[in-house]
């Protein structure tokens, strides 16, 4: 039986450095609601459960179909996209919403996922094709390679894996699973492979691959079921070979 009312407990924070507080809201149930439509309802009339007038809750969202990653937040303590967090699929009781804890809060449920994007720059998660002449079409990929790479290309840098990773925190320099998986992706690309050593150099430093602790929470949390732990193993192999080659040849 669907619930009559939806109760929400939301962790609010007015500014990046300000204190956080809990606010509770109650709104009438409607068919097919997700967390975002709940937040939109609150925005129409931002009054708490206790009848206090408050500010509309701030959150970020874009695609609303779980491919952009922007609306990622902690829903009942688990990192996930709030657009696919359907109210009717959730257990009874209040729904708890919190911002991700591993990224700086901008306001309320909105965080700045910039550290992840910076890490993508550090590991050179791209295929360099700019030049002074047309490079022509790249080499063909086998079907099997395409399928493996496709899995890694589904990453939307939502930050779920970073949120659950015990090695990704303020005490550690670890860049986290998501950027590393992109090294796996671009090192497998037939053109990207030409710069594989640059990416390996980038992840063999402080905060790189060796700071992974194999807790393997990342693969459990990934909403896109990206085989992150396989990427980490594969990069382990690539860095081992590259390291030994350098030791013996340089």
């Amino acid at each position: 039986m669907p619930r009559q009312n939806i109760e929400l407990r939301i962790r609010r924070q007015d500014s990046p450095t300000g204190p956080s507080r809990w606010e509770e809201f109650v709104l009438p149930w409607q068919p097919s609601m997700n967390v975002i439509s709940c937040l939109m309802e609150i925005r129409k009339n931002p009054v708490t459960k206790q009848g206090q007038k408050t500010t509309p809750v701030n959150w970020e969202s874009s695609c609303l179909e779980e491919v952009c990653g922007a609306c990622t937040m902690l829903v009942n303590g688990k990192p996930r996209q709030s657009c696919t967090a359907l109210v009717d699929n959730m257990p009874d009781g209040p729904i708890t919403l919190e911002p991700l804890t591993k990224f700086p809060v901008v306001r309320d449920l909105q965080v700045d996922r910039k550290p992840m994007f910076e890490a993508l720059k550090i590991v050179k998660a791209w295929v360099p094709i700019d030049g002074t002449y047309d490079l022509g079409p790249g080499p063909k990929l086998s079907q099997a390679e395409q399928e493996t790479s496709y899995a890694f290309s589904r990453c939307m840098t939502c930050g779920c894996c970073m949120e659950v990773c015990p090695q990704y925190n303020t005490r550690s320099d670890f860049i986290g699973p998501a950027p590393l998986a992109q090294v796996r992706l671009f090192n497998a690309h037939p053109t990207g492979r030409m710069n594989a050593h640059e990416r390996l150099d980038a992840i063999m430093g402080r905060g790189g691959l060796v700071d992974c602790g194999n807790a393997q929470n990342c693969v459990e949390a990934c909403p896109k079921e990206i085989p992150l732990t396989e990427a980490l193993g594969e990069l382990g192999k690539q860095t081992t070979v590259y390291w030994l080659k350098n030791l013996l040849n340089k």
């Binding site: 700071d211 602790g213 393997q216 929470n217 193993g233």
Partner: protein, 232 residues
């Protein structure tokens, strides 16, 4: 201390390597020698004396055991401090393993210091006639016995589960199935080593389990008894 990126990688990889070779190998040897206690006082004391007669034993001990353990310990504690355990929020099986790896490592720092002091430097030990009797006397104290149990289980866990991390760090197990298999192997190593270790501990109290079917070479059922001085 500031280390360059390259040496950081090498140090971390050495940390992983030393855990298996030589420290893992040493643990196997240690459990092997301890298991001699199942064959009685003389058998264990002989085995211990034989170890002391290894050529270059001082160098092997210092460079092959103490140095790697000290290195693994120091870097391990540093690694553990960079972790933000989150078992409470995300209680996945592998997260338990990850957390227990760090907990067992820290326990082992204390255990190894205690154990090395008691059975290597303590004057009572050095003056004792029988190493077997000395250990038996030690573990008659329930607190010490409990600490030994914790130490043995921690060491076996840390090596067994460490093999899982080792296989992924070095890229030996890359696929999901391969990693699953390594995880199973790691747990099997943990269980077997723990049983062997705890049994040898009990042997020092004269309570080791040492049935013929398990401990006699196959085919000797009707032949001569091979062991002398055993307690069974």
């Amino acid at each position: 201390m500031k280390v360059s990126d390259r040496s950081y990688f090498a140090l971390k990889r050495l940390h992983s390597l030393t855990g298996v070779v030589p420290i893992g190998l040493f643990l196997l040897e240690h459990l092997f020698t301890n298991s001699k206690a199942l064959q009685g006082e003389a058998a264990f004391n002989d085995a211990a004396a034989e170890l002391a007669r290894i050529p270059y034993v001082g160098a092997i001990e210092a460079l092959g055991i103490w140095l790697p353990i000290a290195f693994h310990m120091v870097l391990g504690v540093i690694i553990a401090t960079t972790s933000q355990a989150n078992l409470g929020k995300h209680g996945y099986a592998k997260n338990w393993q990850y957390t227990l790896q760090r907990v067992s490592g820290v326990l082992l720092v204390f255990y190894i210091l205690f154990h090395t002091w008691m059975t290597r430097f303590d004057s009572d030990y050095l003056n004792s006639v029988s190493a077997y009797a000395f250990v038996g006397d030690q573990i008659s104290n329930p607190g010490v016995f409990a600490f030994y149990v914790v130490g043995i289980v921690s060491a076996c866990w840390h090596l067994g589960n460490g093999l899982f991390g080792f296989a992924i760090h070095w890229g030996l197990a890359t696929g999901r199935q391969a990693q699953r298999n390594v995880a199973r192997l790691a747990m099997a190593v943990f269980v077997v080593l723990t049983l062997v270790g705890l049994n040898s501990l009990l042997a020092f109290a004269g309570k080791g389990v040492y049935p013929d079917w398990l401990t006699k070479p196959h085919g000797t059922e009707h032949g001569a008894v091979v062991y002398e001085g055993g307690q069974h």
